[in-house]
């Protein structure tokens, strides 16, 4: 009965096994938390010095303090909050539409060889056209307005979700499918107990990709053909020759991108709790 007691505690491998360069001694004494801040600190310092010394014109590179002040100003005026609210709402609804439809179509494409044969190649070819290319057509069809935003974001989400869902389903190990055949699993069981969970990791990477594509599409459409939103705010900053507004927009976009990505990672972890932590 020796193997009976073996619930294997997955050893977490230290992923830093072997290193080429050893850090200078004084560096290794720096608290581990401070070190990652060194580079941003150097950049900020250089930036500040460059602006106070007048090496760079303020129209080209405003002082860091000016950017922060602009951020605060924009936040106080409600410019940021209203633009952000608009952008986020666009992302959320476009993403919901696009990813939802993408999963349905992706599953269809993944489980039906006939659909794959007729639509797969065209879909993959069309998927090559980036959002930027779609913009001119979509503007003609939908005009300028909210519909355009939803459509272009939904399209940006749709493509990676479909490709990854279909791919995930196609990559399900044959061994598992044989189990399903040998035990004559019902259709529902097949879909919910085999196909979806097996394809989940790839579906999820499709969803993460979709969110970043949505974010790109949103900015493209806001910067090129919109009158509100964070992207428009930046274009407007460019029009008004106020680089501080542009930089403030970039900071904002970076923060949102970070938060969204982190949120999705956590969601994925929860959904995949059956996978050992090391993946």
């Amino acid at each position: 009965m020796s193997e009976r007691s073996l619930i294997v505690p997955r050893r977490r491998l230290d992923r830093r096994r072997l290193r080429l360069g050893a850090a200078p001694r004084w560096i290794s004494r720096l608290p581990a938390l401070l070190w990652p801040l060194a580079l941003p600190a150097i950049v900020l310092l250089g930036w500040q010095v460059a602006t106070t010394r007048g090496w760079l014109a303020p129209q080209i590179l405003p002082a860091p303090a000016a950017v922060v002040a602009t951020l605060i100003d924009l936040a106080r005026d409600g410019d940021i909050t209203s633009n952000l609210a608009i952008s986020l709402w666009r992302i959320v609804s476009g993403f919901a539409i696009g990813a939802g439809a993408g999963i349905v179509f992706g599953v269809a494409l993944g489980v039906s060889p006939r659909l794959e044969r007729f639509l797969g190649p065209s879909f993959r070819a069309v998927a090559q056209v980036p959002s930027l290319g779609w913009l001119p057509f979509l503007i003609l069809i939908f005009g300028i307005g909210e519909t355009l935003n939803y459509v272009i974001i939904a399209k940006a989400c749709f493509v990676p979700v479909v490709l990854n869902t279909a791919g995930g389903i196609r990559n399900i190990p044959r061994q598992y499918l044989e189990v399903a055949d040998a035990f004559r699993l019902t259709r529902t069981t097949r879909i919910f107990r085999l196909i979806l969970p097996a394809a989940l990791p790839q579906v999820f990477s499709g969803i993460r990709l979709a969110l970043s594509h949505a974010w790109i599409a949103l900015l493209v459409v806001e910067m090129l053909a919109d009158t509100e939103g964070v992207g428009y705010m930046m274009t407007w900053g460019r029009t008004l020759f106020q680089i501080d507004v542009v930089l403030a927009g970039m900071v904002l976009i970076g923060i949102i991108g970070f938060v969204m990505d982190a949120g999705l990672r956590r969601a994925e972890k929860r959904l995949r709790r059956w996978v050992p932590a090391d993946g």
């Binding site: 129209q59 069309v126 003609l140 992207g231 274009t235 990505d261």
Partner: protein
């Protein structure tokens, strides 16, 4: 196991049935769409100013004086893209390598890199135009950024995910740093790096068109497309979009063939 591979061969009867049928099936839907498009524009079902008949679109790059600009545009775009792409993968690869092999560098750079990476590329455009103008420099920097980020990311991850066994072997054999790098670390990260290059190329192409579209100076497919819109020439816009898709597709195919030839040995592709 012989019978396993055999049964796998059997499991894909479509491949044996000949690629011809699959090809025709794949092309059926697009062909039908072109027919509908043609019919709709000729029968006046849709505004032909908006949806130009397909044959007119097909002829624009040859017969129209403005349409012929396309060829110069493609040349300019591809050259520009290659320049930016090369800079991007070299710089991105170097950064990824640095972060992948040195814990010291990784701890210092990776958090900032991750943070900056979250800024969507298009958001860089206003800053780049302010810094480098609307000319070639800004465009190439933008393309290099587009290609550099995925390259750095994949190189870094590829090196990070090297199986512990390889590194242990290297340690037992007491390989020199240079050998460790060139014979263990880089080769085993190669599949991930190859994917990085692939994504970098696609991104570089989108970046090229985006840069040309948004920074208005000089030739290129993006500028061609933008000018077509500026003059409300839908035929030119359609040609531009098709070109953009086609060039992307060709580049991708070429690169895949190239990568496959470069590393026939490593079959385990990640992702």
């Amino acid at each position: 196991m012989v019978d396993q591979t055999v049964s796998e061969a059997l499991a894909k009867p479509a491949a044996a049935a000949g690629p011809g049928r699959d090809f025709w099936r794949g092309i059926a839907v697009p062909a039908a769409l072109v027919v509908i498009w043609s019919a709709a524009s000729h029968l006046g079902l849709v505004d032909s100013r908006l949806l130009v008949p397909p044959e007119r679109v097909a002829l624009v790059p040859f017969l129209d004086a403005d349409g012929r600009e396309l060829w110069l545009g493609i040349t300019a775009s591809v050259l520009r893209m290659l320049a930016g792409f090369t800079i991007g993968i070299l710089a991105g690869g170097a950064l990824g390598l640095l972060m992948g092999v040195s814990r010291f560098a990784e701890r210092g750079i990776a958090p900032s890199f991750t943070a900056v990476r979250q800024i969507t590329l298009f958001a860089w455009i206003p800053l780049l135009t302010a810094w480098f103008g609307n000319g070639e420099a800004a465009k190439i920097v933008f393309i290099a950024l587009s290609a550099g980020f995925p390259m750095a990311l994949n190189t870094h991850q590829g090196l990070r995910d090297i199986p512990i066994a390889f590194v242990e072997v290297a340690r037992v054999l007491r390989l020199s740093r240079r050998r460790l790098l060139t014979q263990v670390l880089v080769p085993s990260a190669l599949p991930a790096i190859a994917i990085g290059i692939e994504i970098a190329l696609i991104n570089a192409w989108i970046g090229t068109v985006g840069a040309e579209y948004a920074m208005g100076l000089g030739r290129g497919v993006g500028a061609f497309l933008a000018e077509g819109r500026e003059q409300f020439r839908m035929d030119i816009v359609i040609v531009g979009v098709l070109t953009l898709a086609l060039v992307g597709f060709v580049l991708n195919t070429l690169l895949r063939a190239g990568v496959a030839r470069l590393m026939p040995a490593s079959g385990n592709s990640r992702r």
